[in-house]
Symmetry: C2
Subunit: 515 residues, 2 copies
């Protein structure tokens, strides 16, 4: 007796057309992956129904003209995922309890995609205020004159940097693969404390040093440990806006106090104090004013009276072209009154996300917890390389070289500006920093200058972008970076800007005349 | 006529004893720095009074037996800082308008230091709940069996890593010195998208990929863009506590839904939904359960109905020892319904702070702003090296090797546990992950086991530490990591733990008997 196979139930119904599965051997995705994906989709969409039998691996391989192993791999994966079920001796079937609706196909999905934007937080509007700072660009273009806040990274000794990486990766233990303390690699904390003691005359022990991924992250950490919604924070006006935004995102109430020739207008500080006051005493951001001794003294007295903790951002503190860096507020204060912040990115290269804070030891534990929760720690390998760079003397050597170079560039920049743009912009030399502040001369139209800058591909930025309340003087002030540019580049930019300005003015006049 | 110098006014008063200044040539601090520091302090403390004349540089050099240049340098700096004033032809005098009070001396300062702890935010108490995770240690010790969540970093090919660093630092442009897009180095975003498409079957374009400094930072970024105080976020119970803490720090209202053999108990989800739901479907943290297809389907339906955005943390998604990785929730969802998170630190080495999220393109701009404000971007050099590691095929090769190794180690760990600790702990194999879940047998005292572990220097951690409400079963569950340890280390640890447990039990019995 010969057993004749009964036609399968599936075959009599509308059977899934396995033979029409399209596999493409020329794409990057392997065949088993394509097969699996198509079967999964068919099951998910309900085209292959629950309990429907699948062809044997041999049959399906024959139908599609592929290797049997390809089918076996696909079936195995679908089985593991629970889409299909292997019955011993009876081949595979679609699992039960699976989709009974037809979900959207990938192309339909795009059309009906959930728009998450209405879900966004209200506080993100605060963030959007600085959103203009984020370009959509995928690659960051090299800076052009007179973009500010950028050191001359081309002068950085990359060869030494490479040797230090090489040495750490070749000879040292695998310490850099394991987590370090959230407050930083201990030898780096020691090196930073040494630097602050010997070069800045500060009284600091390594236990007080917190390594952060840039000064910006320092603001975030301080926000986390100090600020509840509604707490007050005082900023200079103008001030480094991204600092204020970090605190605003946490619900802090910002207030602003003006700047004059001696720095922060301490007399205008609120009698009641605040949780924190953020200041840039060495070289005000962005105006470059150094806080006078009298002001510092008054500020510290006010801080003590009102129990306001001071955040001293030693912005450009290392870049003084007369004498050595100024004494820090931290050094004049009583312990715990001032939190000090410094950075390596303006000293070495902009993308180096390593900075530090000096805090009372009692804050180390909460800051460590906050950092651990934020992103654990900065990369140990990069921290070790920076440690070697400092301890090998490269750091101070580079700093000395750069100080001389930037002092010279400031003078060259002044020359170019006076020579080509003297009729438009007035510039005074500054004692330090990486940029000059220019002021548009009376009668010169601000918009016309910015149009000309755009036309000439010259980067100028207005001080007003950092102002809470920009008065008429602030409206006329420009930030003119010089540190990253050679003489020819600066002279060329100044000349081009002057030409563009003249041409645009002529065109405007002609336009008026012809109207 | 000979002019006889009149005795200076200062000399007739109680004159400052310049001759008694103590300079020490044997310390690290240069002499001019020491001199300047002591004079500054004398002025600051009011010992040197306003308008008091200073000796000429020649005289002071003679008095102290130091080079005249040393004095000149110190005077110059003090003049720049405004502490003293040079009168043309009349030497230097202490500036006016300076301290009229005597500030505390450094040693007194320490005693009267401001204690900042009362100033801390209320929300820091939330942070303190995970504070126990931060050891005070300066160096991180190598992990011991059975510490979990750590891959075997010793298997990582550091030689290749070094060559890639070398190549980038030697041959490439200086791109790594300049800022990259906050969402990541574009070629890395492409490499991650490629990996997700080919190895995980996900439909992802590079524009959707966000590089973060670890999954942990991803939580922070999502918190910033989604959460206002009071917004609801749903977590699994138990769940990865540090994720919940990030959201709690931002004022989110957490709720918890239990886990069973099929994963998240979808039936218990609130009908009203929430802003976000955080889940680990591939391998539940820490229980290792894979979410069933039926559950996933139900979860997505609930999410669509309630407009709750799902955060899919593909925790241990790559470590499946049967078949390939499971299909992701992301792949089953409609676009914008699921935000997908993956990490490199559990695949390569723990200190590698690079992870990624896949988000709808509409979220890229707000996330870029949030990241820019948080810490700008991850180090471009490290991102470039990881890109080369992936594109050179090293990543997938390493992953394949590790998958085989860990599958073997899970079996070896099971053996050791059964052989030495079978009477105490019951363990079931898991389909994936880097750890096993052990359950204490009935009658075995939990505290006794932990005491024995401490005694034997064996690391065991309780599942309960991650539980919101730990039931009796959870109280008996242990997390037993095996991935980072060789067979001998695991067998030794299990044996030592068994011995310690036996010894401590004997001692306890003896104690009871003698009481």
């Amino acid at each position: 007796m010969t057993l004749k196979k009964a036609p399968s139930k599936a075959r009599t119904q509308q059977r899934f057309p396995f033979e029409s599965l399209q596999l493409d051997a020329t794409t990057q995705s392997p065949l088993y992956r394509q097969l699996e994906e198509q079967l999964r989709q068919a099951i998910w969409q309900g085209v292959l129904k629950a309990d429907e039998p699948l062809p044997s691996s041999r049959n399906l391989a024959g139908l599609l003209n592929i290797a049997r192993n390809t089918v076996i791999r696909a079936y195995e994966q679908l089985a593991v995922e629970g889409f299909i079920r292997a019955k011993p001796g009876a081949g595979h079937r679609v699992a039960e309890g699976l989709p009974d609706r037809v979900p959207r196909t990938p192309s339909a999905r795009r059309a009906t995609a959930t728009d998450l934007r209405p879900q966004l937080s209200r506080r993100i509007n605060t963030l959007r205020q600085v959103g203009g700072l984020i370009g959509p660009q995928r690659h960051n273009p090299a800076p052009l004159p007179f973009r500010a806040h950028i050191p001359d990274y081309q002068e950085f000794p990359t060869n030494i940097w490479r040797q230090l990486y090489n040495r750490r990766l070749k000879h040292s233990s695998r310490f850099w693969q394991l987590a370090v303390h959230p407050c930083g690699y201990w030898p780096l904390r020691q090196a930073v404390a040494d630097y602050l003691v010997t070069a800045r005359g500060m009284s600091v022990v390594p236990e007080q040093v917190v390594i952060t991924a840039g000064v910006q992250q320092g603001f975030e950490l301080l926000t986390k440990i100090f600020i509840d919604p509604g707490d007050g924070v005082i900023f200079e006006d103008p001030a480094y806006t991204p600092a204020a935004t970090v605190f605003a995102m946490a619900g802090a109430k910002a207030s602003y106090v003006g700047i004059d020739d001696e720095g922060l207008a301490v007399d205008a500080l609120p009698a009641g104090g605040a949780k924190l006051l953020y200041t840039t005493p060495a070289s005000h951001f962005p105006l470059g004013v150094s806080q006078s001794q009298a002001r510092r003294k008054a500020l510290l007295a006010w801080s003590a009276k009102t129990s306001t903790t001071i955040l001293e951002d030693d912005y450009n503190g290392e870049y003084r072209y007369r004498g050595r860096p100024l004494t820090t507020l931290y050094s004049m204060a009583s312990a715990g009154q001032v939190i000090y912040m410094g950075s390596f990115s303006k000293l070495l290269f902009p993308a180096l996300r390593l900075a530090y804070m000096v805090v009372p030891e009692s804050l180390i534990a909460p800051i460590a917890s906050a950092r651990w929760l934020l992103d654990r720690h900065s990369p140990p390998l990069e921290q070790a390389v920076l440690t070697d760079f400092i301890n090998g003397g490269h750091f101070l050597r580079h700093l000395r070289r750069m100080r001389a170079l930037y002092a010279q560039r400031q003078a060259l920049c002044m020359n170019s500006l006076e020579h080509y743009l003297g009729d438009l912009i007035e510039v005074e030399p500054l004692d330090g920093g990486l940029h000059l502040i220019g002021e548009l001369r009376t009668g010169i139209d601000r918009d016309a200058v910015f149009s000309a800058a755009e036309d000439a591909n010259v980067e100028l930025s207005p001080v007003a972008q950092f102002a809470h309340q920009a008065d008429a003087k602030t409206q006329r002030q420009l930030i003119i970076g010089y540190a990253a540019y050679r003489e020819a580049a600066m002279a060329g930019a100044a000349q081009n800007l002057a030409k563009s300005f003249a041409r645009l003015s002529r065109e405007k006049k002609t336009q008026k005349r012809t109207q």
